[in-house]
Amino acid sequence: MHELSIALSIVEGAGEEAARRGGKVSVVHLRLGQLSGVVKDALLFSYDLACEGTLLEGSRLMIEEEPVVVFCPECAAERALASIQSFRCPVCGALTPDVVRGRELELVALELTYEQHAASATPATTD
């Protein structure tokens, strides 16, 4: 299970961004391609562990799963695969190895909150 090391990388990456911008991370948005090699449930499980004792403790991981999109040479069009067990165009049935999307493992966005009392002291506007 490599999801824990992936989760640690997410926490590290999100922590760096949050430190740069000020504020506390409440939600981490992640895009997960079906061909990323990462299992969603295992990652969610690992995430809380990875957050423990860090600035991200208590934050939530929101995962948006991306289907695999291939380029079909017969249709000359991008097609989403119904299953990653079959790299066939769902329209014409042609086999195609040409993956356009679906390998993503991307930190997309963060939701940052600011404590009321700390707000005036947080130099969120400086860079």
């Binding site: 090699g37 079959s86 790299f87 966005a109």
Partner: protein, 224 residues
């Protein structure tokens, strides 16, 4: 600016767009550049435990060493048994013990290369930890990724682990000498491989009897 108290601030959504494995990917790219600059052909091997990576590699290294300068890095969780076996091929072999980590990462490869002069090599093999899941996410800077499956594992392995098959360049069906004994359906296996990775080259061979090794070695030599 002014001294009026700030109202409570709403959560702010900020866009990041950062590849989680960026550090590994950058390092892998650096390695690939180094390998190319030194004209070293690098192939990595992935499979489940016991598929026959080490036996296959031992035969490949032995066959190649007369013609070119070849070396291997071997990943394993705890033991150096595989490195000891490969040392019989009388080529430079280094062990990467990953501890509890179930896959190799580019950083481990970089560290293992420390002190090796790449200009003195033509070909390097990297044997990953036996695992068909985790290695798929990590680029190691290799030129060719081989996925091995043995006939004893069943024809449906590609359908069970489509991601690793899809990220590989070549499939090797090993222990072909046992195919009849385990009623391995080669046609179905080939079909399953093509289903998850259309166009992938497939070799069937036995490291033990040598059957099918020549064809694989010819492909390798054409890339060196």
């Amino acid at each position: 600016m002014n001294n009026t108290p700030h109202p409570p601030r709403l959560p702010r959504l900020i866009e990041v767009r950062k590849n989680v494995l960026k550090r590994n990917d950058l390092l892998a790219r650096k390695l690939r550049d180094r390998f190319r600059a030194a004209s070293v052909f690098v192939a990595s091997l992935v499979s489940s435990p016991g598929a026959g990576k080490t036996a296959f590699l031992e035969k490949t290294l032995t066959a190649l060493r007369a013609q070119c300068r070849v070396a291997a890095l071997v990943g394993d969780l705890a033991t150096d048994n595989d490195a000891a076996r490969l040392a019989r091929a009388e080529v430079p072999v280094r062990q990467i013990t990953t501890g509890t980590v179930c896959h190799l990462e580019a950083e481990m490869v970089e560290r293992a290369l420390d002190g090796w002069n790449l200009d003195e090599l033509d070909c390097l093999f990297i044997e990953n930890v036996g695992n068909l899941v985790c290695p798929s996410s990590y680029d190691l800077g290799e030129e060719m990724r081989l996925v091995l499956m043995s006939v004893t594992e069943g024809e449906d392995k590609p359908l069970k682990y489509p991601t690793i098959f899809n990220t590989a360049d070549v499939a090797i069906i090993t222990k072909i000498d046992l195919a009849a004994a385990v009623e391995f359906d080669l046609k179905s296996a080939r079909r399953n491989i093509q289903s998850v990775r259309p166009g992938m080259r497939v070799f069937e061979l036995s490291a033990k009897t040598g059957e099918g090794m020549d064809e694989w070695l010819r492909l390798l030599q054409s890339r060196l």
